[in-house]
């Protein structure tokens, strides 16, 4: 699991339940696409989506993205298949490996284990939203300098996770890193470089991976 000591963020959703209903009203005009319905369950009003496609709005990297999605579609599938945001990778598809890590309200989540409809109204940040054009973030540059990547398939997940981890632990110990970055797996074996990145070593300090 991700090391995370922040309290759950307050719901900053731009969308109220009423907004949902308005959206669904628009969506209902589209054949085969039905918005959420309200039903009474155990004495409470519950929003029911689907089973068909439902209009879905996601706030990703500051952009409002819309698609008609079945409720079973995960956030990861929506990002990758509907919005071509392919930095988050589909690897284990069940919350074990961290390759699909994105930030939801600033906190890392496994996008494979969040339904797209449940991510509505949340501020989402993917790896694509972290750098601008060809300019890398300093952390991404540290991944390059320490050669903390080989095939690169786990790298975006690690970059997102490490970005958040370092916000929480600006001066981490090795023990902090062991606990805080254990939510991501790498197959090529790049942890040594990632550890150096997280420790904030200069590449020339490590004796390995240094730039000439």
């Amino acid at each position: 699991m991700k090391d995370d000591e922040t309290p759950p963020a307050a719901d900053k959703s731009g969308l109220s339940r009423r907004d949902f209903m308005k959206i669904s009203g628009i969506g209902a005009a589209v054949p085969l696409v039905l918005g959420p319905r309200m039903v009474q369950a155990a004495g409470e009003e519950v929003v029911v989506h689907g089973p068909g496609k439902t209009p879905t709005i996601l706030m990703v990297n500051g952009n409002k993205l819309t698609a008609d999605l079945e409720p079973r579609v995960t956030l990861l599938e929506a990002l990758r298949n509907n919005f071509d945001l392919t930095g988050a990778k589909n690897v284990c598809d069940r919350g074990s490996c961290g390759a699909c890590t994105v930030l939801m309200e600033g906190k890392p989540v496994y996008a494979c284990s969040v339904l797209a409809i449940d991510a509505q109204g949340k501020n989402l940040t993917t790896i694509e939203g972290m750098s601008r054009g060809d300019t890398l973030t300093p952390l991404m540059q540290a991944f390059v300098d320490h050669d903390a990547q080989q095939c690169g398939f786990c790298t975006p997940g690690f970059v997102v996770a490490t970005t958040h981890f370092l916000q929480q632990h600006p001066n981490p110990t090795e023990e902090d890193i062991r606990r805080g970055l254990s939510g991501n797996f790498c197959r090529c074996g790049t942890y040594d470089g990632i550890r150096a990145v997280a420790l904030g070593k200069r590449a020339s300090d490590t004796g390995q991976g240094g730039e000439l």
Partner: protein, 785 residues
């Protein structure tokens, strides 16, 4: 010295330095597009319905309900009713539909009926009395061996020894040869005895029965003899990007595929044959690949299905990427390997005799034969191996096929022998270096370096940590070798009149640093910055380069690039020599200038020089191998030494790696930075397979119990300890030329860690992974013994 030779150390502006990988930024920012990320307009989602039984015959397939689901665009029956299925997860039906949800619904709507047949998935030690299948080899068995990449010499030996029960005609042999089979196999088939005799039906096949010298006499007169049981379970490749392909037909005759592959230049021929179109009409593309490790050389049956589904869907792109369960269950495993070993030494600690009875499984095809004893050519030997055919997805080459298993078995036995002799194992291997052949010199250089990095002399203790407390600490070591000669490679290098340089090569970068070393070699030879070189790979329309298997890529691509760059440089010299009032052989390319060696003030900037090419760009082709342009720029046969420092909690059985040291040779190191990363990565992968990884099959259902990443456990960042890498460079190494590095460093970690655990707790844990249960069992056996 030929002008093509690798330059002297003083004239290497870029070679052998620490340079960041050129595709680092695009990967770190998430912009690198892998096959899995290919998302063209109109893309259809493809998925495969798989057989849930480990052994069965398909009796009926009904796709009618699936066909009626709106959004389903194509259905392809991959294996027809009547077909016998030999492993769970095998492909039965492929479906393409407008999105993932629809294709999943369609798979659920397909009804397949099976006659379930008995399965066999055990790789336990073969009973002594079991009938051994030594009958003639059937066509199926032969093709299985080829599909499973059983080493050529083993296939040839089996054909000679057992005969064959089929008649390979001239066309069959020709097709075989054209598909890339080794000529020795074709020759063996041509000469093979036909036999209709039925061999005993048995999952066990004896391979590699061999005796040399006089083992009985040697054991009888030896000063020390130990017997042991060693081995490792089957493991998976577990590529993070699963296997898969996106196929589309831009016209009825032309096919475009994006595929996750280690074999970009070799994919089209493998599709052309089953699909029935000319290979030249197939374009294969791949920019980035999320891991291969030996499992991605073929388009695979799901890839062919994607091609067929696309054709049925009017040519629209269909992408099939395996889900995690299929990736783990069918897309590659490393054979298990176990052995009972007897090893002996004389009173001076010189190895004199070896006896082994090994076994293991690599799926239906039986599995590999570990080269025992590993690395040390012990004079008197008796050995046999039993390959067990089991109902599971077939083995694929896994980094350094058979070597990690063989190193584990051999180096463990040597460590146990050293303990019996009350000898430091470092001393034992050193005394026996004359048995490793020409690599002895390399190990003699490497062993002291490794020992110093590990502080071996200070930290090593005789077997069994005698300090108080439950946590015991120990050291272990292992050694390894591999070939690694460069493969065939063609390289087109173009110099444009504006001074830009472009390289085209149909190779692939698996994350090894292939792009980086090609760019370094070209820029180094041309005396220009790396940014000046535009490298184009990942498209089968570029010049052919070999598959990335067996650590052959680095030697191949650097050799062809070097030859192309030297030729291009010489042609440029010829163009500019008149304006510098010099002969072309008097010029050199340094610091982005072309200048007269004896008078550097007479020079042109690189850009000015290139402007003299004329209006048209200039392209030259470099090749490897190329006897007309000596010397041989690549080589074979590396040596490496690794040491491990572990702590074992004898109450919980948990093993932790405190530190690992790797000292590695790979000839001339082109980029020290990515080379070190490759070795560090291998250490981490080794820690992972030594401690955690195991493909677990359920004897009842015949299915893999852990086809996921929760219970197929990889090492995480918390598990790796301190890692120290030393690359051998300089005199004695550089002049060997470039040798591949992907396989060798992954061979030794299992043996080094297992030996360190034995040194810590005073007991041998026989099998990898070294799970807490196995460690506790070994401790219990020792206390009872």
């Amino acid at each position: 010295m030929s002008e093509y030779s690798w330059p002297d150390p003083a004239k290497r502006p870029l070679l052998g330095k620490k340079i960041s990988r050129v595709d680092g930024p695009v990967k770190a920012s998430g912009r690198a597009k892998y096959t899995f990320d290919y998302n063209p307009d109109g893309l259809l989602a493809g998925k495969i319905l798989r057989c849930p039984h480990a052994h069965a015959r398909i009796t009926a397939i009904d796709t009618s309900a699936a066909e009626k689901i709106p959004g389903v665009k194509a259905i392809q029956i991959i294996q027809k009713p009547g077909t016998e299925i030999f492993w769970a997860g095998d492909e039965v039906v492929g479906v393409a539909a407008i999105d993932e949800c629809t294709v999943e619904d369609a798979l659920r709507a397909i009804k397949v009926e099976y006659e379930v047949l008995p399965h066999f998935v055990s790789d336990a030690e073969p009973p002594k009395s079991i009938a051994v299948n030594n009958g003639p080899i059937s066509q199926d068995e032969f093709e299985d061996m080829e599909d499973n990449q059983v080493p050529d010499e083993q296939v040839v030996a089996a054909i000679r020894h057992q005969g064959i029960s089929f008649h390979p005609d001239a066309k069959y042999l020709k097709d075989l040869q054209e598909s890339g089979a080794d000529p020795s196999i074709v020759a063996a088939l041509r000469a093979a005895k036909f036999s209709s005799a039925k061999g005993a039906r048995s999952p066990y096949k004896t391979t590699a029965v061999q005796t040399q010298g006089e083992p009985d006499a040697a054991f009888a007169s030896a000063a020390a003899v130990v017997e042991g049981l060693y081995g490792c379970s089957a493991i998976n490749h577990c590529c993070l990007e699963s296997h898969g392909m996106a196929a589309e037909w831009p016209t009825e005759k032309d096919l475009l595929v994006h595929v996750s592959t280690q074999n970009l230049s070799g994919i089209a021929p493998q599709i052309a044959e089953p699909i029935g179109i000319p290979a030249g009409n197939i374009q294969v593309m791949q920019q980035y690949i999320g891991g291969g490790f030996g499992s991605k050389f073929s388009p695979d049956r799901w890839g062919i299905a994607a091609v067929q589904l696309s054709r049925s869907a009017g040519g629209k792109p269909v992408k099939i990427m395996l889900d995690r369960a299929a990736e783990q269950e069918v897309a590659g495993m490393r054979p298990s390997s176990f052995a009972r070993v007897k090893i002996a030494a004389d009173k001076d600690g010189k190895l004199v005799a070896w006896e082994s009875r090994s076994w293991g499984t690599g799926g239906v095809g039986g599995g590999g034969t570990p080269p025992l004893p590993y690395n040390f050519e012990i004079p008197n030997q008796r050995k046999q191996n039993v390959a067990i055919s089991t109902n599971q997805g077939s083995a694929r080459a896994w980094r350094a096929p058979n070597h990690p298993q063989a190193a584990l078995i051999t180096m463990s036995a040597m460590e146990d022998l050293a303990a019996k002799l009350n000898l430091d194992p470092l001393e034992l291997v050193t005394r026996n270096l004359d048995l490793v052949g020409p690599r002895a010199k390399i190990y003699r250089d490497e062993l002291p370096i490794a020992a110093e990095l590990m502080e071996w002399k200070k930290n090593w203790h005789p077997r069994g940590d005698k300090t108080s407390g439950p946590v015991k600490r120990g050291l272990g070591l292992s050694m390894h070798t591999w070939g690694g000669r460069g493969h065939i490679s063609d390289c087109d290098l173009t110099i444009h009149p504006d001074g830009s340089v472009e390289i085209k090569m149909a190779t692939q970068d698996l994350g090894t640093g292939c792009r980086t070393i090609i760019t370094i070699v070209a820029a180094d030879a041309l005396g220009i910055p790396m940014d000046n070189v535009k490298l184009l790979i990942g498209d089968s329309r570029y010049p052919v380069s070999g598959a990335s298997g067996g650590s052959t890529t680095s030697g191949g691509v650097t050799a062809s690039t070097r030859r192309a760059a030297v030729d291009a440089r010489n042609q440029l010299f010829a163009k500019v020599a008149p304006s510098l009032k010099a002969k072309s052989e008097e010029l050199e390319a340094v610091d982005a200038t072309i200048r007269v060696k004896s008078d550097p003030s007479r020079n042109l900037s690189w850009k000015e020089a290139c402007a003299k090419i004329g209006a048209m760009p200039m392209t030259v082709r470099g090749r490897n191998p190329d006897k007309s342009k000596p010397p041989d720029l690549t080589n074979s046969g590396v040596g490496g030494v690794q040491m491990a420092d572990v702590s074992v909690d004898t109450e919980t059985g948990i093993v932790r790696v405190n530190k690992m040291v790797a000292v590695q040779d790979c000839g001339l190191v082109v980029d020290v930075k990515t080379a070190e990363s490759q070795v560090i990565g291998a250490l981490i992968m080794g820690i992972s397979y030594a401690l955690y990884e195991e493909k677990i099959l359920d004897p009842v259902t015949g299915r893999m119990l852990n086809p996921n990443m929760d219970f197929y456990r990889l090492a995480g960042i918390a598990d790796i300890g301190e890692l120290k890498v030393h690359m051998m460079t300089g005199k004695g190494y550089d002049e060997r030329g470039v040798i591949g590095l992907s396989e060798p460093p992954v061979v030794s970690p299992g043996a080094a860690i297992s030996n360190a655990v034995a040194n810590a707790i005073g007991a041998r844990v026989p099998f990898l992974p070294l799970t807490p249960a196995r460690v506790l069992q070994a401790l219990e056996n020792t206390s009872q013994g």
